[in-house]
């Protein structure tokens, strides 16, 4: 009996399980709002408008696990989308234009990476700067009206369907989640990220090529913003310089709500994916309930804050001692650890 309770307790303490419970709860709430919510087509389509946010969140998750932050992702998306449209407009083959757009995104990510990884500058301030710089660049490249009328072979990645009901954007999202999840949890590169995020000095002494990994991680984040741009163009059918503006809150929420430690060193791809589902479902539900976009932002912002504060509270309570449940490194943030409240030594480096 006691072991059973312990098991249930430990299961509940897992962040992913809490997210699933929240997803079910919001689903039930949405179902009461509209009879059309629990229809297969709607459920399958739920993530389509948020696929580009998820793709950016996957890239950002890598950066955050490595102990840094990249708030310029939405601006990179804008530049990449604008470049893609300009290359295409200039008569380049659409696939070449797409690759060029991705290359630009990766290059911008590389700039972030070199400034942070090689020159050792603070990623928060640097990406705040490049957030503005890249956004300005996007407007300079394509001022005024956007570009539309892309061939269907490209827009299907954001707006197309297989067998009428299954959105291709969902397939893109899931494939990237699986591939990036594999990279994060099953490759040496992925383990490096956790080690660097936990203790950069120790990682250096352990012979990990810290600078190279940090540059790579920012380049990856830029590349994912480029991929997100492709899906974005497909979904909205047009490319404009203000593409992706205002999506930063959702991207960061997906990452942090997904259980990625904002100070680095822990987090899982599954968690980020589930958090994305929760955010998408919540926004969808609020639309059903006729709540305006800016009011939705209040809810998402409060959700983000509540998740962190609750995580910290749970950890503080656990630190005071509930002996039956083994204490683990917290779900979000290791603020208590830095505040000297964590008593046990951190012996393991892990991704949940």
């Amino acid at each position: 009996m006691r072991t059973a309770l312990l098991f249930v307790g430990r299961l509940l303490a897992r962040w992913e399980v809490l997210l699933v419970i929240a997803i079910v709860g919001v689903g039930i709430w949405s179902a009461t709002l509209s009879p059309f919510f629990f229809v297969r087509a709607n459920l399958l389509d739920l993530l389509t408008p948020y696929a580009f946010i998820g793709l950016m969140a996957f890239g950002l998750a890598f950066v955050v696990i490595a102990g840094e932050i990249d708030i310029s992702v939405a601006s990179i998306l804008a530049v990449s989308v604008v470049c893609f449209s300009q290359f295409y407009d200039a008569g380049l083959n659409v696939w070449l234009a797409l690759v060029a757009g991705l290359a630009v995104a990766t290059g911008l990510g590389c700039i972030n990476g070199v400034l942070v990884g090689i020159f050792d500058l603070p990623s928060l301030a640097i990406t705040l700067g490049t957030l503005a710089a890249y956004q300005g660049l996007a407007y300079v490249i394509l001022p005024g009206e956007g570009v539309a009328a892309f061939p269907e072979s490209v827009t299907k990645f954001g707006g197309g369907y297989v067998h009428i009901e299954l959105p291709i954007a969902l397939l893109v999202l899931i494939s990237f989640a699986v591939v990036l999840g594999f990279v994060l949890h099953a490759t040496r590169f992925g383990r490096y990220l956790y080690t660097i995020g936990s203790n950069r000095e120790a990682a250096r002494f352990a012979g990990i090529p810290v600078a190279r990994v940090r540059v790579t991680v920012f380049a990856l984040s830029g590349f994912m913003a480029g991929i997100a741009g492709v899906v974005y163009v497909g979904y909205f059918g047009s490319a404009r310089a203000d593409a992706g503006q205002g999506s930063l809150l959702d991207v960061v929420t997906a990452v942090v709500l997904g259980g990625v430690d904002i100070f680095g060193g822990s987090g899982s791809m599954l968690g980020v994916f589930l958090a994305l589902v929760l955010v998408a479902e919540l926004r969808n539900g609020m639309q059903l309930a006729n709540i305006a976009g800016d009011t939705q932002n209040i809810v998402i912002g409060v959700l983000l804050l509540t998740a962190i504060v609750l995580g910290n509270l749970t950890r503080a309570i656990q630190a005071r001692g509930l002996p039956s449940i083994p204490r683990r490194k917290g779900v979000i943030g290791n603020a208590t650890a830095s505040a000297g409240l964590a008593i046990e030594p951190e012996t393991e480096v892990k991704g949940r």
């Binding site: 932050i69 708030i71 400034l115 020159f119 050792d120 500058l121 603070p122 928060l124 301030a125 640097i126 705040l128 700067g129 490049t130 957030l131 503005a132 710089a133 890249y134 956004q135 300005g136 660049l137 407007y139 300079v140 001022p143 310089a241 930063l248 809150l249 960061v252 942090v256 904002i262 100070f263 305006a292 800016d294 009011t295 939705q296 932002n297 209040i298 998402i300 912002g301 409060v302 983000l304 804050l305 962190i308 504060v309 910290n312 943030g333 603020a335 208590t336 505040a339």
Partner: protein, 348 residues
């Protein structure tokens, strides 16, 4: 001997800071020279009065932001606080045309204080990292502005003349807005120089753990920094409402980038622990001058955004370089000192 060395180290640090402000001054001189040659109307009194108005709001909010950054935190929500308090100001004055302006200013600062307090409590009691906390409140406060405004915009013709005069009148040739900013700058500089609780900001930013061990109530001080930043953003909102003719829910969007650019260019270390009001003022003047020059050269609005971001990156890089060099120099001195002591001991 020992004392002299320590004095030396201190004067070295002081020299480095002066150098940083000097650097901004030189950049300002170059910018003025460049635009004076390239842009007509740049060196006119009218134009400089315009620049002074732009600088004023950035300085007021920037001093608040400086206090937060000094404690190794950041407040991204300032623009939303400015927008919300600007609307509250305009709304109050449109409804009560004869309301005393000081009371309205206090009301705007009150709004800012409450919002800043929420930020501070989230960071200290809730232990949410400042970047995440204020990114969330940036969206939340903006959402609140939409709730409060209800889609309404308040135009200047509904506002009383004595309020609009704050931006329009120019006693002694300087816009009233700039006089307000000057007052805030002097008080802010005095506080950061002499008030014990404000000196704690520097200690916390230099080394939070050491500050705690030294008996500083770090949590309380960080809350105060956020509250000051909120209150000054509220005052900035009051000034914003008089400066710009129409106030609505999206007023001052992205204004935080102007503020943070000015603060970082002014030499405030993004890792906390160092920075000065004089630097912030110079940084704000430099940013406003360059943006004004861009306008006169008919460059797109968007080059300004690009320039803002570029300037942040360059300023952060230069700050890091200076700090690095300074630390190196201090370390070398200390090593030499230790070696000398050892040598003396060995001889004895």
């Amino acid at each position: 001997m020992n004392g002299a060395r320590r004095l030396n180290a201190e004067s070295l640090a002081a020299a480095a800071f002066r150098l940083r402000e000097l650097g901004v001054l030189v950049a300002l001189g170059v910018a003025v020279l460049f635009f004076a040659i390239r842009a007509t109307n740049f060196l006119t009194i009218d134009n400089w009065q315009d620049i002074a108005k732009d600088v004023a709001i950035v300085v007021v909010v920037g001093i608040g932001e400086t206090m937060v950054i000094l404690t190794r935190n950041i407040d991204l929500s300032v623009a939303s606080i400015v927008g919300l308090s600007a609307f509250v100001t305009a709304d109050t004055l449109a409804a009560h045309n004869d309301a005393p302006l000081v009371l309205v200013a206090l009301l705007a600062m009150g709004v800012g204080t409450v919002l800043g307090l929420v930020n501070g409590l989230l960071v200290t009691v809730g232990r949410v990292p400042a970047i995440i906390a204020t990114l969330a409140t940036l969206a939340i406060y903006r959402g609140l502005a939409f709730q409060v405004t209800n889609g309404e915009a308040i135009s200047a013709f509904r506002l009383p003349d004595n309020f609009l005069n704050i931006a329009a009148s120019k006693p002694l040739g300087l816009p009233t807005l700039a006089w307000i900013a000057l007052g805030v700058a002097f008080v802010g500089a005095a506080i950061l120089r002499w008030a014990p609780w404000a000196r704690d900001f520097f200690a916390i930013g230099s080394n939070p753990d050491a500050a705690r061990v030294a008996g500083i109530h770090t949590g309380r001080r960080v809350v105060i920094a956020f509250v000051m930043c909120g209150a000054l953003s509220g005052l900035g909102g009051f000034m914003w409402a008089s400066r710009y003719p129409t106030v609505d829910a999206v007023s001052a969007t992205d204004f935080e980038l102007d503020v943070i650019t000015a603060v970082v260019i002014g030499g405030v270390n993004v890792f906390g622990g160092s920075g000065s009001v004089l630097g912030v003022v110079l940084g704000a003047v430099l940013v406003a001058t360059i943006q004004n020059g861009f306008t006169l050269l008919h460059l797109s609005e968007f080059w300004k955004l690009f320039f803002n971001g570029f300037a942040i990156v360059v300023a952060v890089a230069i700050n890091a370089l200076v700090t690095h060099r300074l630390q190196d120099a201090l370390r070398r001195r200390r090593r030499a000192q230790v070696l000398a002591t050892r040598h003396m001991e060995a001889e004895a």
